[in-house]
Symmetry: C2
């Protein structure tokens, strides 16, 4: 683990998994609308939303997707994770007061770049509402040790500087 409670690349292996669950409340939808600037009536206006194929208000897809980001940053790999990429397939609508379960699973390790490919799936009541993949960069114990050595051993600093040239 790193000093802020996240997993280092050396701690991770394929198949490790975490779930983070969050209810999407009406207040969350309104906060998200304000923060994103997406005030589309299908998210805000129940009367209008009833006339659409959704038959009622739905959460913004990106709000549901943000539960994935919370699972990655808060749980696995956890604090210290840097988001590099995400694919999202929106499979079904999420309604106010649905609880979204985001399951994130280590799929592939790229230790030479401290990168991890994670499968990322959101479900509501067992039904998949989003699936996709994330690519994240995580901390590395080996790199921390190398940096520490470089700061205390002048020879290591010289060797590191030459590499950078």
């Amino acid at each position: 683990m790193n000093e802020i409670g996240g997993y280092d690349i050396e701690d991770l292996e394929a198949g490790m998994s975490a779930i983070y669950a969050k209810p999407i409340t009406e207040a969350d939808i309104l906060s998200f609308a304000a923060a994103s600037g997406d005030n589309n009536a299908v998210h805000i206006d129940e009367e209008f939303a009833r006339t659409t194929p959704f038959k009622g208000r739905v959460a913004h897809g990106m709000l549901t997707a943000s539960v994935i980001s919370a699972a990655l940053a808060g749980h696995l790999p956890g604090p210290g994770t840097v988001y590099l990429g995400q694919t999202l397939r929106f499979k079904a609508p999420v309604r106010p007061d649905d609880t979204v379960h985001a399951t994130v699973t280590v799929k592939e390790l790229r230790p030479e770049k401290s990168q991890v490919v994670m499968s990322t799936v959101c479900t509501v009541g067992g039904k998949v509402v989003i699936d996709g993949e994330a690519v994240v960069m995580v901390t590395s114990r080996a790199r921390r040790l190398a940096e520490c050595a470089a700061h205390t051993d002048p020879a290591a600093i010289v060797s590191q500087s030459s590499e950078a040239l």
Copy 2:
């Protein structure tokens, strides 16, 4: 255009583009943290964030990405758009009070499915912070007319029902 001001598939052609700009304020970041459940210190705690490689607080990647969603839903194709998928590559951090410009451009039309592939790029001060692609479903004038005909012409209803079997 459809009845709520969005583009029908018949109105769109490759190369059409729209820009939506939104400042990401500190208040937006706090609202997004609450709505998503992602309270990672690098977004919230300036003192901690200064010790990270970012050297200060950064907006959640998914908050910046949500400006793309606002551009699609509010501008092009506009109201009536249904989000089917999105790819995101996070290229550079966004800081509180940066203004994010989301540019969405029609890349490919799939009229048989009323789907459109859009290129989606976010910039801050001209620098790309996110790039990627969205797949959306849009309304169709031809489909509206067919549905209208089906409701008024009993023969059309029969023919449509047979097709559904």
